[in-house]
Assembly symmetry: C2
């Protein structure tokens, strides 16, 4: 059986959807333009491979697993390092994030945020909404500084039910 994550087949566009996830989506065209812009500004190049991976992330209806992305690239001919290298590059550019608690990756929903994002991960529909987690980071900084700890980065991932899914799951 196929994996749970929704990596689109190459022909699909963002309006249609094979799974039950009609709600959330990225703007693929805008995301790719932004990606080009960010890479150019950083003096790096968005190669065809990297662009393809970025596009898969943008078309995905939620966090995507590395091996699913790999499978979607040229019908699975690519090897693991291919996808991990592309993902690492996109993360370095702030164009994608890794979600630790899912072992999955998602396009940046904010527009190449270089800094600590947070995610609200819906356990019903699988979508992960990105937060520019400034208040959360501030609280974390406060707790850290009390202990003399200097934060370099943080993982902030909440799981629960999104606005659309809460009604259908909690019947009461």
């Amino acid at each position: 059986m196929a994996s749970m994550t929704q990596v689109p087949d190459p022909a699909a566009d963002s309006a249609s959807c094979a799974g039950g996830h009609r709600h959330h989506a990225f703007d693929v065209a805008a995301g790719l333009l932004e990606a080009e812009r960010v890479c150019t500004a950083a003096g790096e190049s968005l190669t065809p491979l990297r662009r393809d991976v970025m596009e898969l992330l943008l078309r995905a209806h939620g966090p995507a697993k590395a091996y699913d992305l790999l499978q979607a690239l040229t019908a699975g001919a690519a090897k693991p390092p291919t996808i991990y290298r592309a993902l690492e590059f996109l993360q370095r550019m702030g164009l994608a994030h890794r979600i630790e608690s899912l072992n999955a990756f998602i396009a940046c929903g904010i527009g190449a945020c270089a800094k600590n994002a947070g995610f609200l991960i819906c356990t019903a529909c699988g979508w992960a909404e990105e937060l520019l987690a400034d208040p959360v980071n501030a609280a974390l900084e406060g707790a850290a500084s009390e202990r003399g700890f200097r934060i370099a980065g943080a993982v902030i991932e909440a799981r629960g039910l999104c606005r659309d899914c809460a009604p259908s799951v909690a019947t009461k």
Copy 2:
């Protein structure tokens, strides 16, 4: 070569340490007593196997990897499900936590906290200090409720330098 995580050999006590981590440690005896108490209160039993795993976590000088714990149990004769089951039990009891960004496990430093903890993970010494992350959770709740999201649980993990390590790493 051996793994990076510090799982003690059975003879070591909490005062001695093979690695460079002299600073942080759990109180092993107190932790085991607390574990007994919590399990009894929950109507569950801290079997010898679970107790051994708890003890390994308490003796570890930082987050421990599942396969290292496995190796440390009866000199490596145990199979993976053994350790994952024990860890799952300990997590269910609030006696241990999983650190997602490290794929590692650590004894609860607060005393069987059932709820969302946060961690400050030092990238120099490997220690992970546990926070009862109430202000952080409050900030997260605030951001979530703005979006109609109901949080069931959260992963909060900061990495950086602890008080003891910051001076030795940042020379400037």
